[in-house]
Amino acid sequence: MTLPIENLLQHRHLWRATDGLEAERGTLTTGFAHLDAVLAGGGWPTDGVTEIIGDTPGVGELRLLLPALAELSQRRQRWVAWVAPPWLPYAPALAAAGVDVKRVLLIHPKRHQDLLWATEQALKSGTCSAVLSWPDPRHLRHADLRRLQLAAREGDSWGVLFRPEAAAEQPSPAELRLRLAADPEQTDGTGLRLRVIKRRGGWPSEELPIRFDDLLTRRLAGPEQAAALRQLALWQPPSSSRVAHPRGISGAAGKPPAPIAAGQGARP
């Protein structure tokens, strides 16, 4: 005898949120295995809007995206657009992290309406693999967010909106919403704490620690090690510092991502 719930589940008019998510949509591994594990499809939604919420500049918001940006810039002949970035993206640091800077497009609109327009155009043009945008929180309306989400779907482009802490409580049509905060336990800049506020096919997550493994953290490991690294680096041709490891799209949640800039997963 079957239980009523099983009968119900076999009914073809019943659809469960966890069904068929990974098959349809494009995702890209974040480069952090335990973050991939909580995200729908095992990575960033590359055809939707992701909101990065946080008030602290320099908490690691870009380093969180870098492995994916590096991958996108190398793999596709598309722009990685930065709309109204608050400061200048530093080309040598981007290049060192494996981002193909030839794909980087900086857009500096003068008015907020132009900013939204440029973000939307970039998203839906089908010529940007990722669009990073810093909208003015005072003027951003729910309808604008909805437009951007639709544009990202249309142009098969990954939209990343950077928003302040206050936005965390407001509803948003974005595909994925992450809240970032500095890690009080790791004061050396090696990590941050991340909480998923909204994701497809799942509930908000617990706080996850994210640990970076890059130049900053390696240098901070200790003066002796730093000196040794310096010695090593002198013997390497400069080009060897650049990473060009192609990685697969979705489904690679458990696979450790490629070196230098990418994180190697969290410490439990």
Binding site: A91, P92, A118, T187, L234
Partner: protein
């Protein structure tokens, strides 16, 4: 037999008669060619051309302007300008060049196309005629066809509205080529079979004869060409002179009637005139679309592309207002041209009233001719990256879009360069390969750079930014050489000690102390 000689042997002239050319110059700038709005062309204070709506209201050519306006108060009028019509006719000849290389003008209001060489390409006379008429209709003109073995007969038939049935004509033309006999004779006979009955009934006033001769012929009781041709030739010559005989000989093909072909224009230059002054930007979009459509068509048949459109908005009182549209790459896509032009139009402030809109395109390049892929889904699915740049810079300005490149320099301010997005710049200073600055040999580098460095307050040698900063790692010494470019502000000059510091909220920043004046600066954020 060479193609050229064959055309000489068996010519077939297609006349495209534009009975309302002067009026349609204005109405074609309106949506649906302004069919609903009565409009008339005025010459010497009298109506000379009317559109359908005006005729439906009871207006007739020859009425005075005052009469017309009392019958139909909403009548839109335009004054005739012969020069403008001649320019439009020349532009149309350029357009007609796609059907045959032998296009000539039959002023003031007709084009002559020698189409015998194009019949096979366009798959028959019937289809060719349909294409020509559909094309001219799309441009906003109404055209009447006429076909005959001689140019004069073609024009006369078109003006009289007597066009031979292309299928019947084609049937007559479909004869075996006789290598022994005179091809010209056979051809002329065949065409004559189809054309002569029409020509015979052609009223004489459609012939291009001087008015005095027309009157004399009418006084003699002659009405049609057939009646005129029946008269003895010698007597006719004595009465009317050599000119009439000459005209009749050219009409019937007894004498050759060479026409000078129009040469294709080297640049695109088209103009639209408005019946009423336009002062609203949105009202210019339809005319822009029409001109861009013509341009795209013009570029397509010539296998050309352009990256520079020059709009000119003219008015007799306000002068000329120019809008220049530049694209990153030469192209010929009308949708993109229109989108960019609209954005430029919206940006341009202080637009005066506009009486005419002109589009000039001179910077022409051979079109790359990217072939359509056989399986578009399998190939490159991405759009053209330059399209986005064009779009953004059309609204935001060219300086709003930038690309960046790392440069070989140890000084952080000098270690990057901006350039036009997507541009490839090769030089000894700028490379896309990471230089020493990007390698692992230097200390950590922030992802955000503040340019120029932001001065920090400090108390007792302790730097402050959103609270006290905790120095965590350093120093890394970088020296600014005295011969550095003057871009750097004065307090930044001198040797620097760089530190990674943590601020109160938990983020990390990159600060330096200028050793020459002990001042602290924020230079980057490890985001």
């Amino acid at each position: 037999m060479p193609q050229h000689a064959r055309q000489q042997e068996r010519p077939l002239w297609f006349c495209l008669y534009l009975p309302r050319l002067g009026l349609e110059l204005f109405t074609r700038s309106l949506v649906d060619a302004g069919a609903a709005k009565p409009a008339a062309l005025i010459a010497q204070h009298r109506l000379c051309q009317l559109n359908g709506a005006a005729q439906a209201r009871g207006l007739r050519p020859g009425q005075s302007l005052a009469t017309a306006q009392s019958i139909c108060p909403g009548l839109a009028v335009a004054w005739r300008e012969v020069d403008r019509e001649a320019a439009a006719l020349a532009h149309l000849a350029d357009w007609a060049w796609r059907f045959t290389p032998r296009v000539s003008l039959a002023p003031p209001d007709a084009l002559l196309l020698e189409i015998s060489g194009s019949l096979r390409l366009f798959r028959g006379l019937d289809r060719l005629q349909q294409q020509i008429l559909a094309g001219i209709r799309e441009l906003g003109y109404s055209g009447l066809p006429g076909m005959a073995p001689t140019p004069l007969a073609a024009v006369a038939l078109a003006r009289a509205g007597l066009c031979p049935d292309p299928e019947a004509l084609a049937a007559e033309l479909d004869f075996e080529q006789n290598e022994h006999g005179s091809l010209r004779q056979a051809w002329t006979q065949a065409v004559a079979q189809a054309v002569r009955p029409l020509l015979a009934h052609l009223p004489l006033d459609h012939l291009d004869l001087p008015a005095a001769e027309q009157q004399r012929l009418a006084a003699m009781g002659l009405r049609t060409v057939a009646e005129l041709l029946r008269l003895p030739r010698a007597a006719l010559g004595r009465r009317f002179g050599r000119q009439l005989l000459d005209h009749l000989d050219r009409l019937t093909g007894r004498r050759p009637d060479p026409r000078e072909p129009v040469l294709p224009a080297p640049a695109f230059n088209a103009e639209l005139h408005f019946l009423e002054d336009v002062s609203h930007k949105n009202a210019l979009v339809f005319p822009m679309r029409r001109l861009i459509g013509e341009l795209a068509d013009w570029l397509r048949v010539r296998q050309l592309a352009s990256s520079h459109l020059c709009w000119s908005l003219r008015h007799p009182r306000h002068g000329e207002h120019r809008i220049e549209v530049r694209c990153a790459q030469p192209q010929r896509d009308p949708i993109r041209f229109l989108e960019l032009s609209r954005l430029h139009l919206e940006r341009s402030a202080g637009l005066p009233e506009v009486a005419a809109l002109a589009l000039q395109v001179e910077a022409l390049e051979a079109h790359g001719g990217r072939p359509d892929t056989l399986f578009p889904l399998l190939g490159e699915e991405d759009g053209d990256p330059a399209a986005l740049i064009d779009l953004l810079s059309a609204r935001l300005g060219r300086e709003a879009c930038l690309g960046i490149l790392p440069a070989d320099d140890h000084l952080p301010e000098q270690a990057w360069q901006t350039l036009m997005p997507g541009a490839v710049r090769k030089g000894n200073r700028i490379t896309s390969e990471p230089g020493p600055e990007t390698g692992a040999s230097l200390g950590p580098r922030p992802l955000w750079l503040l340019d120029p460095p932001q001065p920090l307050t400090s108390r007792d040698g302790q730097p402050y930014w959103h609270g006290a900063l905790t120095l965590q790692r350093g120093p890394e010494r970088l020296d600014v050489m005295p011969w550095r470019p003057a871009r750097l502000p004065e307090p930044c000059l001198g040797p620097r000690d760089y530190w990674v510091a943590r601020h109160r909220q938990g983020g990390h920043c990159w600060i330096f102390q200028n050793l020459s004046n002990q001042r602290w600066f924020l230079h980057g954020l490890f985001a």
